[in-house]
Symmetry: C2
């Protein structure tokens, strides 16, 4: 299918044929649109949705990306990489407790703000090995983060490195529910969890975000009902 491998023609052909300028522009539009759509509506979103959002025809999308999986992969690769990179940076921070907390916050924020990423990381419908590899890289780094924090005595001893991804996912899920109404509510529960992670404490640290009001809860429920019928 490659345009040049056919007849054993001239020279090396593996360089990307440079793509006409308008085509390249469309490619970028598609990428941007896909990011937006998958982030907000999750991986269930249609490539037709992406096309509409990008303002191009479906055909254009499929010409550029052979299928959904490829597009999703290309899109989230760097976001996953970032996850690993931030963990490594955190390792270099001076205060081990703060380092762990920051990382947890970063991980949660990423997943809370991005339904697609959350689905990708936790339910592996698409980039299984990609994600598995990232997780593999992450593991020792997070372990180190946890051990160090425990060594200073700030982190409770029964906390485990594997708790980190699960907590991030869990908090992000809370955010999912309240998403349309108060997207940052996860910060409140992260605060709570962090206080629970301390080896000991006197008093409490202030929760960064106010609780939802009963009306807001009600509204969340309504919004979710609408969304799931509108989306499907």
């Amino acid at each position: 299918m490659t345009s040049c491998a056919e007849g054993g023609a001239v020279g090396d052909c593996r360089g990307e044929r440079p793509l006409r300028r308008d085509a390249e522009r469309n490619r970028q539009r598609i990428l941007r649109a896909a990011a937006e759509v998958f982030t907000q509506r999750g991986l269930d979103a249609t490539l037709d949705d992406v096309a509409r959002q990008a303002g191009v025809g479906v055909g254009t999308v499929y010409r550029r990306f052979p299928d959904k999986e490829t597009l999703v992969g290309e899109l989230f690769q760097d976001r996953i990489d970032a996850m690993v990179a931030v963990a490594e940076q955190a390792c270099a921070a001076p205060d081990p407790w703060q380092a762990l907390v920051s990382y947890l916050e970063y991980a949660t924020a990423s997943m809370a703000g991005d339904l697609g990423l959350r689905q990708l990381m936790m339910f592996a419908t698409y980039g299984r090995d990609r994600v598995a590899y990232a997780r593999e890289q992450m593991r020792p780094v997070v372990s180190k983060l946890v051990e160090r924090a425990q060594a200073t005595g700030a982190l409770r001893a029964d906390f485990s490195a594997t708790d980190v991804p699960l907590i991030a996912f869990m908090l992000a899920s809370a955010g999912e529910y309240a998403g349309p109404v108060q997207p940052d509510i996860w910060q409140r529960y992260l605060g709570l969890v962090i206080d629970g992670m301390r080896a000991s404490r006197d008093g409490v640290s202030e929760l960064p975000v106010p609780a939802l009001s009963p009306e807001e809860i009600e509204e969340s429920m309504r919004a979710h009902g609408q969304r799931s019928s509108a989306r499907r």
Copy 2:
């Protein structure tokens, strides 16, 4: 459609016509099967699935329950009621802190063990007003639970009654992820959160469940991948 309202026949007819014995038996089977299926696989499960599980034909299901919504409603009504009832019972407990914790545990356990209930309560695709009504009833009771626990000084002052349902949902979501591998993992994070809810503490309370091993996390991911492709 009622069999008796047709011709202005004898006496009162609103009593349920008693249903032949085998039919009643099947009805029960269906109800039991539906409970099992919706609990384990969520509200997306098909009525065909329910029929298969019950060992009856689809037709039988549809003859007894006009549509999915009716069946789901009938099924979850008492589970929702139980949620309210337990809250009220908790109010009567002697130790306010323990009462709140017990209720939180009960609510989380219910949702963690029942995907259908979780979807029903949080995403309201089906019994919107039923759930809304239950929530309405629950609200003052939970408020009381929270206020009392705060009055004793055990519960941090910035905790709010609306945090209760969100926390339950959040913890249950963690359980959802680890479901097939370690269904009780939510208890671990409930422990963590509870320690975070205390106004102050010295040291930590033991977490009731060990963390997942890296292998178990891996396995969860794999299981989820399979499940979502097998189910759809």
